[in-house]
């Protein structure tokens, strides 16, 4: 098993550069895990969606107080200083969806039946702002009914009437919805994200190994050794498999170390198998990359471009729903796309019957197909090189 041992030693020598990707993965997992645990999703009762806004009032009147209280039902107020740059920054970074400013004299003019308007700075065409605007119009249009019809109504009276009117709300029924166990969305996200470190690590490791083995002098030396060349090849393939399984195992263990709360169910098992199949596919991608690269510097370039490129367009960093259809079409020529698609389908499964599992199995088969294709191409290339 000399060849196997040699392969392991070469990989071991290069572990530092591979560990960088594992560390990045671990750090991002930890950050995302602490970030997402704050959001819990409930599907059993209807909770109106809320947005965060900045509310600045240049006057303090009972009407505005009443309005702000009502607005608090649909929006949280962010505490942002009334400075142009601070407000602009908050809008740009989506800390608030809009900035509302009640101009001085608003209440007085409103009570006199004049036309007045609240000033708003907002993100254009945002769903959240459509809702906020609807609520503002609702409040003041209802208030206008009283102001125009009851002469001399005081602000306090008006607010009292409005409070009573606005307390009525429509009843909402939640139809039998998809029951998605909480945490599943996160697990799905992490498994999608696996694609990036797995690809990077396996390409880096395998290419480093193959670069050494493709060295002409070394090859000639190996050829005159009293060991069958098939045996050497098999030992290297075995080393590649062991390395792939170990990398996969390391990433899986790190994932569970951070996300141990998510539990373990049939879906996790399916996600694990999908990531395992993908890891094997990565091995054959790296085999091809290793056949093609000629220098140590090119390994980094190839690893970066391949892993980042496929991850970006296939929905590893940005969910597939948010990618354009033409981008997804291009992505469907890479195995990462099918891996992410399989994961998303698994996360959405409600039952585990042959029928529901069929699309998942199909995606698995496509990933295996890609793996076989890459492997065959690299074998053909090697054959051509040696002849």
């Amino acid at each position: 098993m000399q060849a196997f041992k040699l392969a392991m030693r070469i990989i071991n020598k290069n572990k530092a550069q591979m560990l960088i990707y594992v560390v990045i993965f671990f750090a991002i997992s930890a950050i995302m895990s602490s970030y997402s645990s704050r959001e819990s999703k409930s599907y059993t009762s209807f909770t109106p969606a809320k947005t965060t806004i900045a509310f600045i009032s240049e006057e303090d009147t009972p009407l505005i107080d009443g309005f702000k209280k009502e607005l608090a039902r649909v929006a949280d107020f962010a505490n942002i200083p009334d400075e142009t740059e601070a407000l602009q920054d908050a809008l740009y970074f989506r800390q608030v969806s809009c900035v509302l400013r009640i101009p001085k004299g608003f209440t007085e003019k409103f009570m006199n039946g004049e036309n007045v308007q609240i000033e708003r700075m907002s993100i254009p065409n945002s769903m959240r702002n459509v809702h906020v605007e609807l609520c503002i119009d609702k409040y003041f249009n209802t208030a206008a009914l009283y102001v125009r019809s009851i002469d001399g109504i005081s602000q306090q009276e008006l607010v009292r009437y409005l409070e009573k009117d606005l307390s009525e709300t429509a009843s909402v029924e939640i139809a039998a919805a998809d029951t998605e166990s909480p945490g599943m969305i996160d697990t799905n996200y992490f498994f999608n994200y696996f694609a990036y470190p797995l690809l990077s690590v396996i390409i880096l490791g395998m290419s480093a190994l193959m670069l050494v083995l493709n060295d002409p002098d070394l090859k000639m030396r190996n050829n005159c050794a009293p060991v069958k060349s098939t045996s050497i090849s098999m030992q290297f393939i075995l080393a590649g498999l062991v390395f792939t399984v170990l990398s996969w195992l390391l990433i899986v263990i790190l994932h569970f170390a951070v996300n141990f709360r998510d539990g373990f169910g049939p879906k996790t098992l399916l996600l694990l198998s999908s990531s395992f199949i993908f890891a094997i596919c990565c091995l054959s991608i790296s085999f091809l990359a290793g056949t093609l690269v000629k220098s140590r510097d090119a390994i980094h370039a190839a690893a970066n471009v391949l892993s980042l490129g496929m991850s970006f367009i296939s929905g590893v960093f940005v969910p597939q729903e948010l990618l354009g259809s033409h981008v997804l079409k291009i992505a469907s020529f890479t195995p990462v796309y099918w891996y992410v698609r399989a994961n998303n389908t698994i996360a959405g499964l409600n039952a585990f019957t042959p029928d529901t599992l069929k699309p998942v199995i199909n995606d698995f088969l496509i990933i295996i197909g890609f793996g076989t294709a890459f492997f065959s191409v690299s074998l053909a290339l090697r054959k051509q090189k040696t002849s």
């Binding site: 009914l145 606005l166 429509a170």
Partner: protein
């Protein structure tokens, strides 16, 4: 002498394909990937007309007021809803197939059925609430002032819009651009590879080439400056190609102050170069180690400048403002951002001033390390 050193250095640099890959091709690829991945990023928050259904019941047909209210918000260009009137079974089916976001049942009370919680569903609910509130207000007013029915009807008829959009800046708050700004900042700092090379090629203990150069009758600082000038020229040209690609091909908006954008890029290129020179001069280890230090510094700085997670830039700026001034990548990103987003120049010039201070520190440090070096043996 200048032309000689400069032109040969230029040739060397243009034939160093690895450097060209990392400093030009890689940022171009990354920009293309950003474009492919992020161009639809805001589509989830954008408003699109909400599809709803109303169950075709006896009560709905009789309730003229509700029908009129619904018609008002479902006609015209600025409408909220696309309404289809269907049977309850059909409505259930449509909801299940995600063809509608929810449906309304008009019974003695108005009820809404949805399959999940979200803004689209909340907007439907707010519409129904609004109808109920108006109804409640009308009955209260009628009990208080029955003679005012005419005004009441007029007011209901002429609903007014109480919101006026004001804008303090001409730029659209499109946060996707920021990814490209930080990418260009990163590309500027990739100039550090040239900086490292120039220092290695002038320090006789770091490369054989430098050892040969040191025996030549050329003032060392001059040779270093001429070489550096060639490096910065090549890097700056690469950055200009990148910016042209991002602006003209990927259609990313940098605002109207293009001359400032180019100036910022030049400053960025020089700062990046000086950073590499400084690291290379101060750290006396292998090139691989120096590269690792530079790459990891750049990546950490990029992270805090919001390249991987945009909110990070804001979180740092609000909570630890000092840190955002100590991060040169953030200063560069912020300079592009303020050129695009603000009408004033205060923040832009502050960023540039701090960047220049960084450059001065890096160059002085490098100078102090590499000057007057004599070698007893090599």
């Amino acid at each position: 002498m200048f032309t000689h050193i400069f032109s040969y250095r230029l040739k060397c640099l243009l034939r160093n394909y690895e450097n060209i890959f990392w400093m030009l091709i890689f940022p171009l690829i990354l920009a293309t990937l950003f474009y492919m991945a992020f161009s639809n990023l805001n589509s989830a928050e954008a408003f699109s007309i909400i599809d709803i259904a109303v169950v075709d019941s006896e009560q709905y047909r009789q309730d003229g007021n509700f029908r009129a209210a619904l018609e008002k918000v479902s006609t015209g260009d600025g409408r909220l809803f696309n309404v289809s009137v269907v049977s309850i079974e059909e409505a259930d089916k449509m909801l299940k197939n995600n063809q509608i976001d929810g449906y309304i049942v008009v019974d003695r009370q108005i009820k809404m059925v949805v399959s999940k919680t979200g803004f689209r569903q909340t907007i439907i609910k707010t519409f129904i609430d609004n109808y109920m509130h108006t109804f409640s207000a009308v009955s209260t007013v009628m009990s208080q002032a029955p003679d005012k029915i005419q005004q009441l009807l007029e007011t209901i008829e002429n609903r007014v819009n109480y919101v006026r959009e004001v804008s303090t800046t001409s730029a659209d708050p499109n946060n996707v651009h920021l990814y490209f700004y930080s990418l260009i900042a990163m590309a500027c700092f990739y100039g550090c590879f040239s900086g490292m090379r120039e220092v290695s090629d002038i320090q006789a203990d770091l490369s054989p080439l430098a050892a040969r150069l040191n025996t030549a009758p050329v003032y060392k600082l001059k040779a270093f400056l001429y070489n550096s000038f060639a490096s910065v020229v090549v890097h700056f040209a690469e950055l200009l190609i990148l910016i042209a690609y991002v602006i003209f091909v990927l259609d990313v908006d940098f605002g109207s102050k293009i001359a400032h954008v180019i100036f910022t890029t030049l400053i960025g290129s020089i700062t990046g170069f000086s950073f590499g020179a400084f690291v290379s001069a101060v750290i006396r280890k292998s090139e691989g180690f120096k590269t690792a230090v530079m790459i990891s510094t750049i990546m950490v700085c990029c992270f805090f400048a919001g390249m991987m997670f945009q909110d990070m830039k804001y979180i740092i700026a609000v909570n630890v403002p000092l840190l955002s001034y100590l991060n040169p990548l953030n200063l560069l990103t912020d300079a592009f951002y303020s050129l695009y987003y603000y009408d004033t120049f205060t923040r832009y010039y502050t960023n540039i001033a701090v960047l220049l201070a960084f450059t001065a520190v890096f160059f002085t440090g490098t100078y102090l390390v590499i000057r007057r070096k004599k070698y007893a043996s090599l």
